[in-house]
Amino acid sequence: MRAALKNPRIMEATMIPMSKDVRELIGPWAEQVDNRALLYEKYALPKVWGEPRKIDNAGRWNVLRIVTRGSALLSEDAQRLRSEANGPNVQPEVAEKKRTYARIAESMAKVGKFDTDLVQAWNENAQKFMDDLRKSYPERLVTFEATLQSRLMINMAGGVVENAGICLDRCFGLPFLPGSAVKGIARNQALWEIKRASGQEKKKLLDAALLLFGYAKPDLSRNGAFGWAAGADLGNTVTLTRGTNEFKGLACFLPAYPTTKPKLVVDLVNSHYPNYYKGRHPNASDNEEPRPNYFPAVESGCSFGFAVVLTRWFNGLPLSEEEILGHARKWIENALTKNGAGAKTAAGYGWFQVGRTAPTQAQPAAGMNKATPADAFIDQWRGKLNTKDNFPAALPAMNQLDDDGLKRAFEAVIPEQERRRLRRKNPYWQSFTSGRHAEAGKSILKRLNLQLT
C-alpha cells in the first residue's frame, strides 16, 4: 500500500471513491457513466482523497464534467496547466503539482457520451403528458410555455458538492422545475399582489388565492401567509365566510419539464474577501485573493412547459373554473417574468419570457438588462432631481410610468432627504404642487398616496 501511494499514477487511478469491481467496469474516472445526475452525485472527485494535498480544482472539474461542452473545457484546463508547468521560473514542486493536475483534468475529460435520443424521448414525453392531461381534465387545465432569458439554478443548496447542487431528473439527467417550486413562486407572487391591492380588487385576489393554493389555520393567523398579505380584509372574503379554517388547494401545479433541448453551463461566484467574510479581517480590503466557487446552471434559451390542473371542483364557488385558472396562469407568469424562479434571482438568474422565444441575450443576468420605461427613466434622471436643477421637467414623463414603475422611479430618483420631509412649504415639494408641471406633480403624489403636511 505504501509503495502504491508513492506512485502518483496508481494513486490517481483511485481518486474517485468507488468499489473495485465497479471501477473495473466504468473506469477509474467513471468515464463510462452517461447519466449526469449519477456522475455528479455518486462519482464526484473529492477535494481530499488519496492525494496528500487538497485538490483546489475538484469542485470546478466535477461541474465541468456534466456541462454541455465539459469535455472540451476540461482538456483546455489540462493544456493550460501543462504549459504553465513548462513555463520559465517555475519551482520544480509547483511544476510537478501542475503536471499532476493536468493529468487529472485530462482523465476527467473522458466523460461518457450523453444520449441525445433520450432528450428527444423526454421532450416527446412532456408533449404527450400534456395531451393526456387535456383528455382527463378538459377545461380544467391551463398549459403554456416559457423560455429562460437568463441562467437558471434550482436546488442549489442540495447535493453532494456543497452549494453547487442542481435539480436534474434522475433517469434522464436533464433539468426541470419541480411542482413545489412552481407552486411556491406562484403563491409568493399572489401574496405580494394581494398585499399591494386594495378594496374590491384585494378581496377578489384573496378569494382566488385561498381557493387555488389552499390554507391551514396557521396561514390565517396575523403572522401567517394570508394574514400577512390580507390583514383585516381576511375575515370578509367569500371563501372564509363559508366557515372552514383549512382547505386543500383546488389546483395542482405540475413539474415544468423542458420542451426544447436544455444546455448546462459552468458558472461561478467569486468571493473577493474570503477572510473578511470569515471574520479574520476587520475590513474588506482589495488585497485578498479571490476564491472562485463553481456550480452548474441551465443556460438561457431553454423552454419549459408549465401546467396547472384543477383536480377538485365544487359548485357555488365565488369564481368560475376559467377565472381560477386565469389567476393561476397570471401568477406563474408574473412570478417568472418579474421575480424569477430558483436561486439567485436577485442577481438576475431564473428570469423567463412567456412563450417559446429566442433568448434576448445569451448571458447571465440577462433578465436584469430588460429595459422597461421605468429603468430608462431612472437611468436618465438618477441623481439629477435635486433642488438646483430644473427637475420639474421630469414630472410629466414620470407620471406616464405604470404604478410599479412609478414607485420604483420615485424611490430611485427623488433624494432620500426630501422623501423624508414631505412639507407643503418645502420649496422642493412646491415644485410638485405649483408651476408649469403642477398637474403631473399632484397626480404623482396622489398615485403614491403621499400627503404633504
Binding site: 457513466v33 424521448a121 431528473d169 407552486k183 401567509a225
Partner: protein, 306 residues
C-alpha cells in the same frame, strides 16, 4: 421460483353457473408520470414522511382502497348515480373488487444507458398470476399461453439478466452498474418477457425501456425499491421576511416518476353494466392522480386497463 409454470391458476371461479360466461379480471396498469407519494403517516426515522410499503418485502404499493377512492371520485364528478352503482353506497355494495397495485418495474440510474428499468421474478410472477386470473390466459382460449410470458428463474444476488442498452463490457468483464453497485450479467433479459412488458403501454418513456430492462434477484430488487426512492427536502418560507420558517423543514419520500404498477380489477357476480362504466371511465381519463401532495404535482399516473 423456476417451476412456477406448473402452478395452477387459482380456481376461484367468480360465477358458479357455467352457462353464463364469467366476466374476467382485468389488469389496471399505472405508470407514474410524476413522483408518487402514497403516505404511511409520520415516522420517527430519518424520513419524516415515508411511503406505504408491503410489510414483508418492502416493495412500495398503492392500496386498493386508494385506487377505489380515486376511481370513484373521478366517476362521481361526472355522474354520482353511476359511481354509487359501480362502487357501492350504504346498504348497496359495489360491483367491482379492486386489488392492491403492486410494483412491476422500477427506474434506477445506470452507468450505461442513463437508466434501467429493474424488475424481479417475484414481481413478474405476481403479474403472471394476475393475468392467469384474467380472460387473457383462460383455459378456454387455446394457445393462450403464447400471449403471456415465461417467468425467468431467479438470478443469484449481484447478478442479473440485462438488455444491451445498459450492459457494459470492459476488461473481459460484462456487467451493469446501477447507482454504485455492479451486477454481473449472466445473460440477456428474456426476449418474450421484454416483448410482453413493452406492449403493455404506449408511453414514449416506456418505449425507451427497450434494451433497458434488468432482471435482479428478489432481494436486490427489494434493496433498490427500499433505498432508491426519491427523498426531497421541503421548507416553508415566511412571506414577510422571505427567509425559512424555523421548524418547518421536512423531507418527503416518493416513488420516482416512470415506475410501473399493476392492480387486478375483478367484476363481482352482480356486475353487469357497471363494468362498461368503469372501462369507459378509464379509457376517457388516460391520466389520474393518486396519493398525496397533488397540489405540487405529485402522483399523476398514466392508466390503462387491459
Amino acid at each position: 421460483m423456476s417451476d412456477t409454470q406448473q402452478n395452477q391458476p387459482e380456481t376461484n371461479n367468480p360465477n358458479p353457473n357455467p352457462s353464463v360466461k364469467p366476466m374476467q379480471t382485468k389488469i389496471l396498469y399505472l405508470f407514474t408520470r410524476t413522483p408518487l407519494h402514497v403516505g404511511a403517516g409520520a415516522s420517527v426515522g430519518a424520513i419524516d414522511q415515508p411511503i406505504i410499503r408491503e410489510r414483508h418485502t418492502g416493495f412500495p404499493v398503492i392500496p386498493g382502497s386508494s385506487i377505489k377512492g380515486v376511481l370513484r371520485d373521478a366517476m362521481s364528478r361526472k355522474e354520482q348515480q353511476d359511481a354509487d352503482r359501480v362502487f357501492g353506497k350504504q346498504d348497496a355494495a359495489g360491483a367491482i373488487a379492486i386489488g392492491e397495485a403492486k410494483i412491476l418495474a422500477f427506474p434506477v440510474r445506470s452507468a450505461k444507458g442513463s437508466f434501467a428499468f429493474i424488475t424481479c421474478p417475484l414481481a413478474l410472477e405476481r403479474l403472471r398470476r394476475a393475468i392467469n386470473n384474467s380472460g387473457e390466459q383462460s383455459s378456454a382460449v387455446p394457445n393462450s399461453g403464447e400471449q403471456s410470458f415465461k417467468v425467468p428463474s431467479e438470478p443469484d444476488d449481484m447478478t442479473c439478466l440485462a438488455g444491451k442498452a445498459v450492459t457494459l463490457e470492459r476488461n473481459n468483464a460484462k456487467g451493469v452498474v446501477l447507482e454504485e453497485y455492479k451486477f454481473n450479467v449472466k445473460g440477456d433479459f428474456p426476449q418474450n418477457c421484454e416483448d410482453y412488458l413493452l406492449d403493455l403501454l404506449e408511453d414514449a418513456v416506456w418505449k425507451v425501456a427497450k434494451g433497458r430492462l434488468v432482471l435482479l434477484s428478489n432481494g436486490d430488487f427489494a434493496h433498490f425499491v427500499r433505498n432508491a426512492c426519491e427523498v426531497s427536502q421541503h421548507v416553508a418560507i415566511k412571506p414577510d421576511t422571505g427567509t425559512a420558517r424555523p421548524g418547518a423543514l421536512f423531507n418527503l419520500e416518493a416513488v420516482p416518476a416512470e415506475t410501473l404498477f399493476f392492480a387486478p380489477l375483478t367484476p363481482l357476480m352482480r356486475c353487469n353494466e357497471e363494468w362498461k362504466l368503469l372501462e369507459a371511465l378509464i379509457n376517457n381519463n388516460p391520466i389520474l392522480q393518486f396519493g398525496g401532495d397533488s397540489t405540487t404535482g405529485l402522483g399523476f399516473c398514466s392508466v390503462k386497463l387491459a
